[in-house]
Symmetry: C2
Subunit: 113 residues, 2 copies
DNA sequence: CGAGAACATGCCTTGACAGGAATATACGTA
DNA sequence: TACGTATATTCCTGTCAAGGCATGTTCTCG
């Protein structure tokens, strides 16, 4: 989980993932589209592969990289446990908080700041 | 988005978020439960706050930190765009890949570049 | 007003990691 | 087999961020 976050936290890696969402691509192809030089792409793909976000298939001298489901699904499952939180209407939540703080404050009214 | 990933990629920060899922907590409280010293907790909370993952409410000298919805919802929305991918049965996907590579290989009969 | 509690911030050191350049490796083909 | 293409790996360097420690700040209460 943390590994997945770390992998996606790097901007260029994130862009690669976004690109691969539209389908499998070869290394050079990725490099050209994202204006990255080849070694960088290979390195980033390595990291992505280590956390299972992509997988390779050899095709002649080319390596076709493709997104894989597992880490994304794990991410989704993890996020589900927070659904209760991220589904709240936030203005409503804001009110609640304001409520709480003012309530606390007026509750012990000794002197104003 | 990337900021959120970066924030969650740090192990102790991740633990803090997991803890806060069960409800708001004060700084010292968090430190004790996670065996972190106070400055660390404060620093991590700062990062989490900067990306909007938590919000504070003052309560006497205490600072109560609480998870917020927005980044989590953004994460969810982002992930939705990958649903097509992470919902696939993966053994099925494996077959597809094997299929493709052999197929490409057998009728790739072009001569020049 | 002074002290203590609960946090925040600053400085320093160290480790991890991204980028660049050069080089190594795998594969297909003439 | 030799060579070109596509990709991987290595080495180096600079940057940035986490941890530890010390100190600053805010708030409350006697």
């Amino acid at each position: 989980m943390i590994e997945t976050f770390a992998a996606l936290a790097e901007p260029n890696r994130f862009r690669i993932v976004e690109l691969l969402r539209r389908g499998p691509r070869a290394v050079n192809d990725i490099g050209e589209r994202l204006h990255l030089n080849q070694p960088q792409v290979s390195k980033h793909l390595r990291v992505l592969k280590e956390v299972g976000l992509v997988e390779v298939q050899h095709q002649a001298q080319q390596r076709i990289y493709e997104l894989r489901a597992r880490p994304l699904r794990e991410l989704h499952d993890w996020l589900e446990r927070y659904r209760r939180i991220w589904e709240e209407r936030f203005d409503q939540l804001d009110e609640l908080i304001d409520d709480l703080s003012t309530k606390e404050k007026t509750h012990d009214d000794r002197k104003r700041k």
